[in-house]
């Protein structure tokens, strides 16, 4: 067991030590990718394990981010009306902004709001047995609704610009390297906890119910489980992860806008997981980091044609690594095991004796 897991621990150790060997800029990039990795874990849970393909996780990410950002914006405005409200003709802080002056409320809303929305939507959707691509595209419709509303309600949300230009968090300057490092380490800790929790989930009987649902929801029903409850739970859990990711993202990147909860980011989230290997939690994390790393790398080095590389990467993964990056590792291990089995079989191969009548 330990032998099998040492790579995980090494990986997380490397993340913890990153502040020692990465420049400030690279560290902030990595911090951003780790937020993405949190979303990826959630997507792996619902997609890889339960077979629910959500193309709408940008919304949960965005809601978490906005909850945090509202607090930061109020703190940055120092009691005055946020700048965008001023030029949108709002002259009083809307009532639903008020509570976000309290950091506790802001932080807890970053989890609760996405979870409530996820629970509400998924309860009806799953109870009415909307499945497969119907669910996927329905989740996309939700993205359209939210993004359009967030853009349209500029006076409350900052419109396309979103919320930005923060200065401090709990009084600490957001731009100071120390704050950034603390936030980074917090991100790693959160990611690790999500990973461990999800791993525990998927390895328990609960995880097997999820896989059974992926395999055949109806059969699960005829074993006496109510798949709706399970799906709502795991879907909301992934929304919670995305919400936390959003909050950490805002703290580190200093910006949230509707564009980041849109269709394209939502699809990209799924792509990270696919690249890493959809039914592997560590694969999801690695996929998020590798895909975004590749995106940054290619676009820094080939700003004109980096899309060709990124597109090529996706195609290559599909064609050559059907189970994603982690699939390579797994299949190597499996092949080793199989080689052994086959050798045994061959040695015990019996001579054929055919009776003829």
């Amino acid at each position: 067991m330990i032998k099998k897991n040492w790579m995980y621990w090494l990986f997380f150790l490397a993340l913890f030590l990153a502040p020692f060997y990465l420049t400030e800029f690279r560290l902030s990039l990595l911090g951003k990718f780790l937020c993405f990795a949190m979303i990826a874990i959630g997507i792996s849970l619902i997609w890889g394990y339960t077979g629910i393909l959500s193309l709408g996780h940008g919304v949960y990410f965005g809601l978490g981010a906005y909850c945090m950002a509202m607090y930061l914006k109020l703190e940055a405005s120092g009691g005055r009306l946020p700048d965008f409200m001023e030029w949108s003709g709002v002259n009083k802080l809307p009532w639903f902004w008020k509570p976000f002056e309290q950091p506790v409320i802001a932080i807890s809303s970053a989890i609760i709001v996405p979870v409530l929305l996820a629970m509400f939507l998924s309860y009806f959707t799953f109870r009415n047995r909307i499945k497969g691509v119907y669910f996927s595209l329905l989740s996309q419709a939700i993205v359209v609704v939210f993004v359009t509303l967030f853009i349209g309600k500029q006076e409350w949300t900052g419109g396309t610009n979103g919320l930005t230009n923060f200065s401090t968090v709990f009084g600490f300057s957001l731009s100071s390297p120390l704050t950034q490092i603390v936030l980074y380490l917090l991100t790693v800790v959160l990611l690790l906890s999500m990973f461990l929790f999800s791993r525990w989930l998927t390895r328990s009987r609960f995880g097997r119910v999820l896989v059974a649902i992926r395999d055949s929801e109806n059969r699960v029903r005829f074993l006496g489980f109510n798949p709706t409850t399970y799906k709502v739970f795991v879907y909301s859990l992934s929304a919670a992860f995305a919400g936390i990711a959003g909050a950490m993202f805002v703290l580190q990147v200093g910006l949230i806008s509707p564009a980041m909860m849109g269709i394209i980011p939502s699809i990209e989230m799924v792509l990270w997981v696919a690249v890493g290997g959809r039914s592997s939690l560590i694969g999801a994390i690695i996929g998020a980091i590798v895909t975004n790393g590749a995106k940054s790398f290619f676009s820094e080095n080939y700003p004109d044609i980096w899309l060709l590389f990124l597109g090529g990467l996706f195609i290559a993964v599909v064609l050559f690594l059907p189970n994603g990056l982690t699939g390579v590792y797994q299949s190597v291990r499996q092949r080793k095991k199989q080689g052994e089995v086959r050798a045994n079989e061959a040695s015990s191969h019996v001579l054929q004796r055919v009776s003829r009548f």
Binding site: E345, H349, Q352, V354, S355, R356, F357
Partner: protein, 233 residues
Amino acid sequence: MLSVRNVTAGYEQSVVLENVSMDVQKGCVTAVLGRNGVGKTTLMKSIIGLIKPMRGNIEWEGEDITSLPPEQRVRRGIGYVPQGREIFPTLTVEENLLLGFEALPKKINSSHVLEEIYELFPILKDMLHRKGGDLSGGQQQQLAIARALIGQPKLLLLDEPMEGIQPSIVQLIRDVIMKIAKEKMVGIVLVEHSLDLAFSCADYFYIFDRGIVVAQGHVSKTSKSDVQQFLTV
């Protein structure tokens, strides 16, 4: 007309058939017997081409067809009724039947062929416009057999064709099998669990156990009890 030579075949993780050889003659019903999981279906799939053998080859009318895709084999006159029916669930019964003609080079006399089929399976005629997937289990099985017959195969692979069919129709199908074998000189491979049934219509038999042929012979020269010993544990 069909000879399977030393075929070893299986799935990604496991070898199921090992070094299997088998011959099927024109106008003969060849029964394939064996307990569950010994590889009968795997053999059928290898013959039709859904599984590529790892070793060995398959000859059909003197031609090596080991590397041909299924559709080529079908067009050379091999018909297949898979275990589990494999009806196209959202196509109508009629469309399912019409797809049987794909095996033939041109649609000759399609209505005449269909009439014959309806005579055999009257129930299908009543349900022409129902979706294939809505039929009952036995109805689907009849549809699957009918669909294969439409292609007028020279060799017919039947993987447990009687599963889920009511007794009176089982008798009917058995008669049909014997009739087309004798009258149209069609070769038939019949996978069947019921020894009685198999022996009541087959000419030759093979018995499998764990992927190898453990016994074979002429039905007429063998007693059921001799065979029985291979089928019990």
